[in-house]
């Protein structure tokens, strides 16, 4: 994918993502049947996975899918439980429609997360800066038509902001391996705490409750860590991008 010119690459990736914004782009072509609509979404998911897998290799694809699967477990299962509990209390009309909606959320999550990782890794920040240098006259020329000094500056600095955002999202995928190493050292079984001799002291129901509590805490811990580590790179990237941009702008083309 990276060998394709960036404009074409962006267009292809944007068109692949369109059904994520409007699922009817997939389902409108099938007869009005909930199961067929679900199957169409499944086919879309597999097609996106194949495209990602062909580019990144199977190992990378599986790691993307595993992250998505964790997200699905965390969000959709909770949603399904809430739906069932509500169903006991009130008579939910259109339960089939709600089920279909839940299934579509599963598919969308299973597509959107691998797609997001694939999208951000399809562009290089260093390459973006080089291109900004190559076309560095274009933005100031365009800015002439923009009213207001603040807006002009925002337009001229837009590539820098995009470069920083792109790099931060790329970094989000890069911090998994070192965090996973720390996690595995503390949790050799990955999905269970290392020290759990009290696990079944109060019976199996208590063990299940403790497991649920532990899983929820683990997910929350991961989410916070990813957020903090992703932000951590911002000052260094911001500094580097600005320095490189200024240097390239001053250099003769």
């Amino acid at each position: 994918m990276r060998r394709i010119p960036w404009v074409l690459r962006l267009a292809i990736l944007a068109s692949l993502a369109a059904p994520l914004l409007d699922s009817t782009l997939v389902t409108r072509w099938v007869p009005d049947n909930p199961w067929l609509r679900v199957e169409a979404m499944f086919a879309y998911m597999v097609a996106i996975w194949i495209i990602i897998g062909l580019n990144t290799g199977l190992d990378k694809l599986f790691s993307f899918i595993s992250v998505a699967a964790v997200m699905v477990i965390a969000t959709v299962i909770v949603g399904a439980i809430v739906q069932d509990v509500l169903g006991l209390v009130i008579d939910l009309t259109g339960v089939a429609a709600t089920d279909e909606h839940l299934v579509s959320i599963v598919y969308m999550l299973m597509v959107s997360l691998p797609y997001a990782f694939f999208f951000v890794s399809s562009f290089s920040v260093a390459g973006l800066l080089q291109r900004v240098h190559a076309g560095s006259g274009a933005l100031p020329r365009l800015a002439r038509w923009v009213p207001g000094r603040r807006l002009k500056m925002k337009l001229i600095r837009a590539p820098l902001r995009i470069a920083v955002c792109l790099r931060v999202f790329q970094h989000l995928a890069e911090i998994f391996p070192p965090l996973l190493t720390v996690w595995r050292e503390e949790h050799p079984l990955a999905i269970l705490p290392r020290n759990r001799s009290d696990w079944q002291v109060e019976g199996p129901i208590s063990a299940v409750a403790k497991l649920g509590n532990w899983v929820w805490n683990a997910l929350w811990t991961w989410a916070k860590c990813l957020l903090v580590f992703a932000f951590r790179i911002v000052p260094a990237v911001d500094d580097e991008v600005r320095r490189c941009y200024v240097k390239l702008r001053e250099a003769p083309r």
Binding site: L129, V182, N195, S197, W199, R232, V237, D239, L248
Partner: protein
């Protein structure tokens, strides 16, 4: 302005119970006016540059020594001109503080390049090649050729260019950071290096001085900030004279069988080849005495071996086992960035997290922690900051105590080997020596052998009883040999 020490200070105040242990102990509560800088040796140049202009009139290499990491980080922040955010915890929302930091950072005009104590904080790009290309950004040069030249100059293999920063060892990162600092020498008014020797193999320290010389040649100033005891040769200061510990050696055996460890490559976005480390030894087993020093060149595979011994990495081929009389199972590690291993805001929170579902283990670990705290207090009289700093709930909290909590948690399990990977990171040699000595005492009392991975073993010389040397052999093998602890 470069690096992100400012953001680290900010992150220290993020209230969470997460896997990341952010270091509130590094900077919180330090009185700027009360710095206890100490001169070590008559030739030491101390320059207090608090007048807002940290660039002196003539280029010089300034060597400054600090008793604690907290003092060193404050000085680093002062030299770098980074915004000084209020450090009280939990006072304002994280995002607002973060935004304030960015606003201030964007107006910073200081042009001093900062190599932070942890080199990973120096990098902004995903791969070595991109990092160096962006550093070299110029329309006049061929970035690929210049990157290859730079790697060659720092005695790094050309294949490293394709590697991601995350896949490098700590030492390789330090060397790439030096290469990047070299590439940026014409753009900055000065260079600050914080504890640069922690990660670099002694035979490669000439690269640190080469980068410093480069800046001086360009009429720019260099500050080398060290913790007491680090790199005594540079200014002739006396190395820390350690006391002897009274424990006897514990024998343990490393059994190695054609061990291969594979780091898988990737095809996208840039092709990174698969990396295979092949460990071999002349004999099927190596008899060692704890405490054991593990030493070897940067990138040779010391930390990888530790991860395999701990069961974190699975071997692609062969096996490695530990035989020790008093313990069994896998090894446990205190990693180079040990504070990343703390699952809690304070050392005590970490212990509570690790033993939430194990009441007996919790009690034992708190007892071990108390034992370590008491012995550290006894041995470190005078180190008020490091020994007495407390968290909001009254528990002791500093980098030293964070490491002690991790050690206590690991000792409760009685692993087959306790591995301390570069335990001197962030500690002066006196603190490092005392910490390691007390951990060894506690470990040996429980029958657990200890291995210390370090590039700066002078501080631990009197503690160590044997050494395991990893060297590059023929046909890309990494050869393991028992040897005497080098002088």
């Amino acid at each position: 302005m470069s690096g992100d020490t400012g953001i680290i200070s900010l992150l220290k105040s993020v209230p969470h119970n997460g896997m990341l242990k952010v270091q509130l102990k590094h900077t919180v509560g330090v009185d700027r006016a009360g710095w206890s800088r100490r001169e070590s040796g008559g030739e030491l140049m101390l320059t207090r540059l608090s007048d807002g202009n940290p660039v002196p009139d003539r280029p010089t290499i300034h060597i400054e020594r600090y008793a604690t990491q907290a003092e060193l980080l404050l000085r680093l922040s002062e030299l770098s001109g980074q915004p000084d955010l209020p450090l009280e915890t939990g006072a304002s929302p994280f995002l607002r503080r973060f935004w304030e930091y960015l606003e201030l950072a964007s107006t910073a005009t200081n042009k001093i390049l900062v190599l932070p104590p942890d080199p990973v904080e120096f990098f902004a790009m995903p791969t070595v090649a991109e990092e160096l290309k962006v550093a070299l950004a110029s329309a006049h040069i061929d970035p690929d050729a210049a990157t290859a030249d730079l790697l060659n100059q720092f005695r790094l293999p050309p294949s490293l260019a394709a590697q991601s920063i995350g896949s490098l060892s700590g030492g390789e990162r330090a060397l790439v950071a030096l290469a990047k600092a070299h590439a940026l020498s014409e753009e900055y008014d000065g260079l600050v290096m914080a504890s640069p020797t922690t990660w670099v193999y002694p035979e490669r320290r000439d690269m640190i001085t080469a980068v410093a010389d480069r800046y001086v040649q360009l009429q720019k100033s260099v500050w080398i900030l060290l913790l007491d005891g680090q790199w005594p040769e540079i200014d002739g200061c006396a190395a820390h004279t350690p006391h002897l510990i009274s424990t006897s050696a514990i024998p343990w055996r490393l059994i190695l069988s054609d061990l291969d460890v594979t780091y898988p490559g990737r095809a996208y976005p840039t092709a990174i080849p698969t990396k295979v480390i092949r460990y071999r030894s002349d004999t099927p087993s190596l008899d060692l005495d704890s405490p054991t020093l593990v030493l070897g060149d940067n990138g040779v595979g010391k930390s990888t071996l530790a991860l395999v011994l701990a069961g974190v990495l699975a071997p692609a081929k062969g096996s490695v086992d530990i035989l020790s009389s008093g313990a069994s199972g896998k090894a446990r590690i205190l990693m180079q960035n040990a504070y990343h291993q703390l699952f809690g805001m304070t050392p005590h929170e970490h212990i509570n997290y690790a033993f939430r579902y194990d009441t007996r283990g919790l009690g034992t670990t708190h007892e071990t922690m108390q034992e370590l705290e008491n012995s550290l207090q006894r041995s470190l009289t005078g180190f008020v900051h490091e020994v007495s700093k407390r968290d909001s709930s009254g528990h002791l909290a500093s980098l030293l105590h964070g490491k002690a909590a991790l050690a206590a948690e690991r000792l409760t399990e009685r692993p087959s080997l306790l591995i301390l990977d570069e335990p001197s990171w962030g500690l002066s040699h006196r603190l490092a020596h005392t910490f390691v000595a007390e951990v060894i005492t506690a470990a040996h009392a429980r029958g657990v052998p200890v291995a210390v991975i370090s590039h700066e073993w002078q501080w631990a010389k009197t503690l160590l009883r044997s050494a395991l040397h990893l060297t590059h052999g023929s046909e890309d093998y990494v050869v393991l040999n028992r040897c005497e602890v080098p002088e």
